[in-house]
Symmetry: C2
Subunit: 205 residues, 2 copies
Amino acid sequence: MPQTMVPDVVVRRLPLYLQALNHLAEAGRTLVSSTELGEAVGVSSAQIRKDLSFFGEFGRPGLGYEIRYLISALQRILQLDKDWHMVIIGAGALGHALANYRGFEDHRFAIVGVFDHDPDRVGARVGRLLVEPMELLPSRIRENHVDIAILSVPARSAQAVADQVVACGVRAILNYAPMALSTPQDVHVTYIDPIARLQAMTYYL
Amino acid sequence: MPQTMVPDVVVRRLPLYLQALNHLAEAGRTLVSSTELGEAVGVSSAQIRKDLSFFGEFGRPGLGYEIRYLISALQRILQLDKDWHMVIIGAGALGHALANYRGFEDHRFAIVGVFDHDPDRVGARVGRLLVEPMELLPSRIRENHVDIAILSVPARSAQAVADQVVACGVRAILNYAPMALSTPQDVHVTYIDPIARLQAMTYYL
DNA sequence: GTGTGTGAAACTGTTCACAGCT
DNA sequence: AGCTGTGAACAGTTTCACACAC
C-alpha cells in the first residue's frame, strides 16, 4: 500500500493517533482537524498531515478528518482488522500481570499460551490459562499460528528464549527483559524497559 | 557538563550502553571497544563514539574503553549516583506489579508510596507498603522529596492525576496509561504502552 | 474563511573516513 | 597494528508555506 518507503518513526506514531481518535469518538465527536489532533497527541499539525500522506488522502479540505473513517483507515494500515496470536514466556510476577491485562484482548491481541521453564510454575493458573512447560512451546506456536512472543524472563535467559521462538517461526518479539536481543533481520523486536526510561529522564532533572 | 546541546535520542541510548556494560562487567571483562559494545547494543561503533563525545573523552586509542570507568562516567552523567524517590498512583493489578518489582530499588529508584482514589483499595498491602488515599499524596510528595510519579491509573483519570502531581512540584512522570498527557514544558513525561508498541509491530508482519 | 496535501527548505541525526594516540 | 575522537558528508525528519478544495 505505501507507494514510498514509510519511515519507522511514522509507523510508531500511527497508534498514538489511533488512541486519540478513539478518545474523540467516545466523546461523540465526528470530525477533527490536524491541528486539534496534533494538540491531543503532542505533535504538530504538519506532522500529522505529512504522516498520513504516506498512506493516502484521508481528510476533506476545509473540514478536517472524519474520525470513524480515519480510525478504520489506520486500523487497516496497521493490520489491526484481524486477530493476532501471542504467547507469554516467563510466568513470574510480570508474566502474570501481562496475562491478566485486559487491554490485549480489547485490541484483538489474544494470549494463547503462557510458558515457563520452571517445573514449579508449570500448571499454575494465570487468568483463564495454565502455565505450560517450554517443551510444548514449539507445537503451540505452530498449531495456534502464534505471531508475537512476549518475553518476561530474566535477562540472562532472554537471548536463548528469543532464539527458540525465532526457530519456531515467530517474527515479532515484545521484550520486557532488560537485554538487547540479537535476531535475524526479518524479526522485529520491541523493548519495554522502565528502568532504561527512568534513567533517561533523570538526566534532565 | 555537556558543552553542546545533547540530542534527546542520545540520552535515551546511554541507559542501553550502561546495561550492556554491566553485563560485560559481570562477565569479568575489563576493556571493551566501541565495535564490541555496539554489537551488544545493536548500534554502530561510530554511533557509540559520537554519543560519548558529547560528554567527554572516555576511551583510550588503541585499547578501547575501561568498562568500570565508563560505567561510573555514564552513571554520573545520568545522575544515577543518587537515590530517586517515586510514588505509584493507581493500585490496580499493574500498580501492584510495579510496586513489587525489585528492579527499581536495585537501580536506586525507591518507591516511597502507593496511592489510589478508591476507598476499597486504600489500606491494602502492596509489597512492604500500604495503599494510601489520594488526599495524602501532596504531603507525601513534599515530605519525601518525590522526584518521579508513576501513573498506573485508567486513561480517563490520567490527565487529572498528572495535573495533581505537577501542582505538587513533580517534574517527571512515567505514564502507563494509554493517554497523551498535557503538561508544562519543564515536566518530563515518558510513555509505556505495550498496545501502541504491538500496533506498530503488526504493520510490518 | 477554514483546512488538507505537498514540494521545498530547514533542521537534526547518522555514517564516513582519517589524524593522532597507544 | 588497533582504536578513539571528530569534522565533513550524507541521510533522514520536521517544518514551512502555499495551491487547491470545501
